[in-house]
Every structure is written in C-alpha cells, then in structure tokens.
C-alpha cells in the first residue's frame, strides 16, 4: 500500500516524463502488477489526453497580472540588474520554433489543409480564412508555414511531450509579432480593432492617444462616423483615467461629422457636468454648441445641463460663456 501511495504521487511526473529512468521503470512495473494503480493510471492518462481537446480559455489580463505578481513575489531577484536593449533573439527558441512561427500565429485555430508558403518579408496575409487576433491559441504544426520570416521575438518557451501520440511534441511560447491589418476605413474588422485599441486601458496611453488621433485625422471628413467608433470614443471620454486621453477623445467627438449618437451625447453631457479637467469640459461644451449650431435637436437633459453650467457660479467663466452660446443656438 505504501508503494501504491508513492506511485500515485509520482503519476503526474510520470505523465510528463520527468521521472528518472529508474523511478519510471519502477512505477511502470508497479502499475502493470497492481490492478488498482493500473486503473488509476488509465484514468489519469485519459484525463490528460481529453484535456487537449478542451477549448483554451482566455485568462483576463488583470487576473493574469495578479497571478504573475504573486509568483514574482515568491521569486528572489537580484537587486540590481544591468540595463540592456531588448530584442535579442534567442537561438534556442528560434531552433525550437522552426515549425510554428509567424504564419502559424496568423492562421491559428483554422484548418488549412495545404498551406502555401507566405511570400517575402513582412508576411502578407490574404487568406479567405478569418484570422483571429486572440490572446491564446493552439495550432497544429501542419497549419504553420515552415518559413520563419524576419526575427520574431519569442519569449517564455516551454517544451511539452504529448503522451500516446507518436513522436509528437508541443512547443508553447509567447510570440510578439508585428501585424498590419489593411482594409477599408469602414471595414468592421478595422473599426473593431480601432475601437479595441482606443478603449483598452492595458495599452499604453500613447497607444490609446495615437489611435484616437488617427481616428480624428481619418474619420472626420467622410460622411457620418461609424457608430462603433463613436461609442468607443464615448466610453473613453467617460471611463479613461488619463486626462490627456480624455481630452483627445472629446476633441475627436467634437470633430466627427453627422449627428452624434445618444451614447456620445450622454458622454459629453456627463463630461460637462463631472469631468474634473476644465479643458475636457470646455471641449464638451464646444461639441454640444456645434451640435446646436448644426440644428441638431437638443433634448431636455442637454438643455438643462447647459443651463445649469451657464449659471454655475463656481464654474470657469469660459465654460459658462460657451454654455450660454450653445443655448443661444437653440431654435424652435
């Protein structure tokens, strides 16, 4: 029984082939002789194999960060480390990743029976298959272009053996690759990507600001703005903690053509009422004034907010004047 207990404790290591040859031989011998442990081992392996088919769940970034922080806290670190440029390529990782790289990341999760080599560098993807932009994915080697293009940055490499699959191995890694998505301005994928970058606070403020500036430069002269973009900007204006980003968002909302969506108008009113930054409030009231000037109907909430602002003694005088000017544009 003591031997059974010891073998069962070692089963996880046996599964990933990390036992010493002697212990592995002993364990297998016992499993063959002991019916109970044999049954346990069969169940163990079946579970392990079944797990391969489970869908990959995306770990929320904050949970992931918190987990890594906990792990990090337990790991002793040198107090001083030399400061070096990033971007060194790791030969080991490159060698290991020969079968998987850039093309694989693009066609992840897809079934491409006969992948054609992608031309040149950078990789240009023109497939009719939809390419996921996802945090985690599992792909088969057969779906990966064997050519490694450029010097992709591969980090956190782990090597896996897949039990009961002849000669199969797994190589897991983080791949930082530069992707260029091209498409029409109004393509839903382009719009969604822009909205994601603008709103995702995991990104640097500069990335968010640049995305918003880009929207301002490219979406203000052509017809009505896409509702998704307007919604994203409204969210940024309402929720982003970074004042510079909020200023950019309200500037962009102000410059977008067409009648603003209710979400945007609500965000402007909210900003005018509550934003602590006077520059945001000025731009919000300017945007509402533009709306009034364009003849957009002013609902009661907008009128009330403007009226309250115009009369608010402790508000910046310029904001008050702008609110009054906006009200002056109201027509029957």
């Amino acid at each position: 029984m003591a031997e059974c207990s010891a073998v069962r404790e070692r089963m996880p290591e046996l599964l990933v082939e990390s036992l010493t040859p002697g212990l592995r031989e002993e364990a297998h011998q016992h499993i063959e002789d002991c019916a109970e442990c044999g049954s346990e081992w069969s169940g163990f392996r079946a579970t392990w194999i079944a797990m391969e088919d489970f869908p990959e769940r995306t770990v929320p970034p904050r949970v992931r960060a918190a987990f890594l922080q906990q792990i990090d806290a337990l790991t002793p670190k040198p107090v001083v480390v030399p400061f070096r440029q990033r971007g060194f390529f790791r030969p080991l990782a490159q060698a290991a990743a020969v079968v998987i790289l850039v093309g694989g990341s693009f066609v992840a999760g897809q079934r491409i029976s006969a992948p054609d080599p992608l031309p040149g560098n950078p990789a240009v993807v023109d497939s009719v298959q939809l390419i996921p932009i996802a945090e985690n994915r599992i792909i088969r080697a057969s779906q990966v272009n064997p050519d490694i293009q450029g010097s992709p940055d591969i980090q956190n490499v782990r090597f896996l053996e897949v039990p009961d699959k002849n000669n199969e191995v797994g190589i897991a890694f983080d791949l930082k690759s530069h992707v260029t998505v091209t498409g029409r301005r109004d393509d839903p994928s382009v719009i969604n990507l822009l909205s994601y970058v603008m709103q995702n606070r995991e990104h640097t403020t500069q990335a968010r600001s640049s995305a918003i500036q880009w929207v301002q430069d490219n979406y203000t002269s052509t017809g009505d703005a896409d509702p998704e973009i307007v919604k994203a900007l409204a969210n940024v204006l309402k929720n982003d903690t970074h004042e510079g980003v909020r200023i950019k968002a309200v500037e962009t909302l102000k410059s977008l053509p067409g009648t603003l969506a209710p979400e945007a108008r609500a965000a402007l009113i909210d900003a005018l009422k509550n934003d602590p930054n006077p520059a945001v409030r000025i731009k919000a009231v300017d945007a509402l004034a533009n709306l009034a000037q364009a003849g957009a109907p002013m609902d009661a909430a907008t009128v009330d907010t403007l009226r309250a602002k115009a009369s608010q003694d402790d508000e910046n005088l310029y904001v008050r004047v702008k609110a009054a000017e906006a009200l002056n544009q109201i027509n029957l």
Binding site: A65, L68, Q69, D72, K77, V79, V80, V81, P82, F83, R84, Q85, R86, T204, T205, Q206, S209, T241, H242, E243, G244, I247, K248, P276, N277, P278, A279, V280, R281, I282, D286, V303, R307, A310, S311, D313, N316, L317, Y318, V319, R320, V321, A323, A324, L327, N328, I330, L332
Partner: protein, 542 residues
C-alpha cells in the same frame, strides 16, 4: 437649337408652377380652438405645461379659471395635418386646489413627425391663485394683474410681467424679461436669463435689496442707487431706498444687460453701475472689432503662416491685423485676435481665446479660461490659462507656460522653457534648450534637436508616459524613475546603453529607477512617471 428653344419656356414654367404649388402646400396649417371653465379655490394653483405656443394670463375677480386654447398644426400636406391633430391634444386634470393643463404630444423619438404644433393659451384666473408655468418655446408670454405666486420657466420667448403683487420666480434661457410694477414690490422677485436682457420698472420710492449680475453685458439704472460692485462675479448689490429692506430683487443675466428703471419716469437716462475700466469689451469701438470678413481674412492669414492649431473663436473683443508698436489689451470677457505685433504684447482676458500670430518682443498672455494659440514669438513668453490648451508654433526665447487643464504643444523652443499642466499632454516637438515639463496627468514627449549634444531636461508626470527623443550622440547624466502599481505593467526603456536599473518597493507599488551616464555623461536628465513608461529613444543619424 430649335428643340431646346421650344422646350425651355415650358420646363421653366412647369418648375415655377410646381414650386408655387409646393410652397403653398408647405404652408398648410389648421387651427382648432377649445375653451374650458373650472372652479378653483382662491388660494389654489394652476399648473400649465406647454411645449410651444404663446401664453397670456390675466388675473380677474372671477372665481373660475377660463382657458382658451388654440391648437395650431403646420405641415406639408393634409395627411401630415391629420397626423398632427391626432397626436397633439390638451389634457386637463387636478381638482379645486390645483388645476393642471398640459399639452400632450405623442411622438416617438425614432421618427421625426412631418408636422409642427403650437398651442396658444389665453387664460383668465382669479388673481389670488398661484401660477406654475413651464412653456419651452414661445414668441411671447404675458402675465398680468396676479397677486399669487408666479413660477415661470421657458427656453425662449419675450416675457412680459405687469402688475404682479406676489412673489415671482422667472427663469428663461434665451428670452428677454420685462417686469413692470406700478406699486412697490411686497414679495421677493427673482428674474434670470442666460442670453436675454432684463428690464425691471419699479416706482422710484420702492424699498428693496437689489442683486444684479451680468457676465458679459452692462448693469444700468436710472434710479439712484449706492451699489457695491464685485468684479469677480461682475455683480452689484444695493439697498435701494432703505438700509434694511426685506424684499429682494434678483436680476441675473448671463450675457445680456440688466436695467432698473423708474416706472414713472422711464425716459431718464440710465447710468452704468460697472466701473468704466471693466467695460472695455463692451465699449470697444466697432472699428477695432473688425468685420467678420476682416476677421476671417486675418485668421486665415495667420493660421497658414503661424498656427499649429486652428483658432476656434470667430468673434473678438479686440481684433487687429498688424500692430507696429507695443500692444497691451485687457478685457473682462472676449476673444482677442492680433495678426502681428512688432513690439511687445500684453493681453489679458477673464474668459476667451487669445490668438497672436507673430510677436517680435516679450509676450505676456493671460486668460481666465480659454485656449491660447500663438504663432511665432520672438521674445520671452509668459502664457497662462485657467482652462484650455496652449499651442505655440515657436517660442524662440523659451518662456513659462501654464494651464490648469489642457494639452500644451510647442513646435519649436529656443530658450529655457517651463511647462506646467494641471492635466493634459505636453509635447515639445523640437527644443534646443533646457526644458522643465510637468503634468498632473498626461504624457510628456520631448524631442531634442539633432545638433544638441547635451541639455538639461526635467519631465514629470503623475499619470502617464515620458518619451524623450535624443540625437544619437546625446550625453547626459540620467536619473529616471517610475512608480507603478504593477511592476510588469510599466518599464524604463532606453535605446542608449549605460543605465542600471534598481527595483524596490515603494508603499503599495514598486519604484523602478534607472541611473547612469549616456555617452560619457552630461547635463542632468531627470525623468519621472507614475503609472507609465519612460522611453529614451534615439533619432536616426543624419
């Protein structure tokens, strides 16, 4: 030729007939009159809620309310009129203590109606009852001979009050308010308008405490008053005809003028109660303001030549195209535009945008709120705004720039420069001199010109990134610090080697500090960011 010759008159004639018919159709309207009469208690109330239409209320000695309503529907055709008639009605409710009259429009937000409606009310009421009226849009609202309390709220329409005896609270957005009282007031009166003007006529002997305010307009009276003026609020406070009056008159106009007039001698000239030196914006001669054509021409000229941000203002308290000497201007309210100043410039406005295209000498600009938009500034620069962006195309001698909230952008800086923002990004696109930049929340990006070998830079943001772009051979003693709540979230990165990084706990977060010498060391480079990255990038070699 012959075919077009014969066709054109027919086509033109047809179009004319069609246009005439269309315009006739567009003017289709219907009017429907209804009357009601209801008893009400002498101390009761009448509540009237109307979206659009005129209202005329008069107090009588009768004991009943008599309401006459004329519902007018306008539309392009009969079908639209029929639709409007079916969707606009008048609802009466309440009891003898409170009667409610409401105009009801059943329209859905997703589909704009093809008609417009207005309901004009003429109402006779027992003079002692209270009135509570909300009437958004009107050409006029008149209330006469009422001794009960009057509450009135409107968006637009001229308001006339005559012979009121009781308390009155009147608030409008774009309407003028005119109150005429042939007897001294015996209850508090509160009148406020955002964009209209207020005129109150009272007997000269009336005793009351008067508070009047106008942010942009004047406050005038032809009744002698000893008024105390408060510049910050642009308001006056006066006890009229008595040291301890118990009746209050409040007249608050945001942009319009306020008048207090002798009821019996209205033709006596009024006197402004605002000190002369604070009336600059209003008394500026029209020639100095410039026509809109001139203003646009100046704006276009300086925008193309000097500006990095398009000016947002279009009307100006002061407008000059070119000033050959020194220029100084102060105003309580208004945007200031000057194309070129060959000498020094000094501009102050309590609220408004300041736009200067070119200034040859020292420049001081200060606004209590509004953007500052400057072109090429040849002398030292001092620019402050309590709220708004600051955009400078060239600060050739550097200067001090400060905003309580807003982005600051400088394309070229040629002298020691200090930039402070209460919240917003700071961007210095090219500097050849020392820079100190600090923002409460926002990114700081500074680009040091390629010919500079070493220069002192201090950049600090309490929430954001610091991005410094330096020439390849740039030398400095670096002390860069970030405070971050998650160590993995933020980092210090440098394209130049020679820095060592120290990580340590700082309260709930982590302090990451990089120190070292770039290219053998030079002037101090102090960079600080909370919850952001610090990046030192090198420019491409020429």
């Amino acid at each position: 030729m012959s075919r077009s010759f014969s066709f054109r008159p027919i086509a033109v004639g047809t179009l004319l007939i069609a246009a005439t018919a269309a315009s006739a159709l567009a003017a289709v309207h219907s009017a429907h009159k209804q009357t009601w009469s209801h008893e009400i208690d002498p101390g009761g109330s009448l509540v009237l809620i109307n979206t659009a239409g005129n209202v005329d209320v008069v107090g009588t000695d009768d004991k009943a309310i008599k309401i006459t309503a004329v519902r007018i529907i306008r539309g392009p055709d009969q079908a639209a009129l029929a639709d409007g008639r079916s969707k606009v009605d008048i609802v009466l409710g309440g009891n003898e203590q409170e009667r409610v009259v409401r105009t009801r429009e059943r329209v859905t937000a997703d589909k704009a109606p093809r008609w417009t409606s207005a309901v004009n009310y003429t109402i006779e009421i027992p003079r002692t009852i209270n009135l509570d009226i909300t009437n958004l849009y009107a050409e006029g609202i008149r209330i006469r001979e009422v001794s009960g309390r009057v509450n009135l709220k409107t968006v637009m329409g001229k308001i006339q009050l005559q012979g009121l005896r009781g308390e009155a609270n009147v608030d409008t957005i774009n309407g003028d308010i005119s109150g005429s009282f042939d007897r001294p007031p015996t209850a508090d009166l509160h009148f406020s308008t955002v964009n209209g003007q207020i005129e109150v006529r009272l007997p000269r002997s009336s005793q009351f405490r008067w508070f009047a305010q106008s942010m942009r307009g004047d406050i005038l009276s032809n009744i002698p008053v000893q008024a105390k003026f408060t510049p910050q609020e642009r308001s006056v406070l006066a006890n009229v005809n008595g040291s301890r009056p118990w009746v209050k008159l409040e007249t608050i106009a945001m942009t319009g003028r306020v008048f207090l007039i002798d009821h019996d001698q209205p033709s006596i000239p009024s006197r402004s109660l605002i000190p002369t030196q604070l009336q600059i914006a209003e008394t500026e001669p029209p020639s100095n303001r410039g026509s809109s054509t001139e203003v646009n021409a100046t704006l276009n000229r300086i925008r193309k030549k000097y500006m990095i941000q398009p000016p947002s203002a279009r009307t100006f308290a002061r407008h000059d195209s070119v000033v050959l000497e020194d220029f100084e201007f102060r105003t309580t309210l208004g945007n200031v535009l000057v194309g070129e100043v060959r000498g020094t410039a000094k501009v102050f406005t309590r609220a408004g945008e300041i736009i200067l295209g070119l200034v040859g000498g020292r420049t001081e600009v200060h606004t209590g709120g509004g953007p500052i938009n400057l072109g090429d500034i040849g002398g030292p620069l001092l620019a402050r705004t309590s709220a708004g962006d600051i955009s400078i195309r060239a600060a050739r001698k550097g200067g001090d720039l400060a905003t309580s909230g807003g982005n600051v952008q400088v394309v070229f800086n040629g002298g020691p420069l200090t930039v402070l923002s209460g919240g917003g990004d700071i961007s210095i696109r090219h500097t050849v001199s020392r820079v100190r930049a600090e923002t409460r929340s926002g990114d700081i990006s500074i680009n040091i010109s390629k010919d500079v070998r070493t220069e002192q830079i201090d950049a600090k943001t309490i929430g954001g990134n610091v991005i410094l772009s330096v020439p390849p051979g740039f030398a400095a003693d670096v002390d860069a610090t970030i405070i971050t709540s998650e160590e993995s979230a933020n980092a210090i990165r440098s394209d130049l080697s020679g820095l060592s990084i120290l990580r340590e706990k700082a309260g709930e977060g982590v302090r990451i500090r990089a120190t070292g010498k770039l290219n053998g060391g030079g002037k101090p480079l102090q960079l600080y960011a909370e919850d952001g990255d610090i990046r030192i990038t090198t420019q491409k070699a020429p």
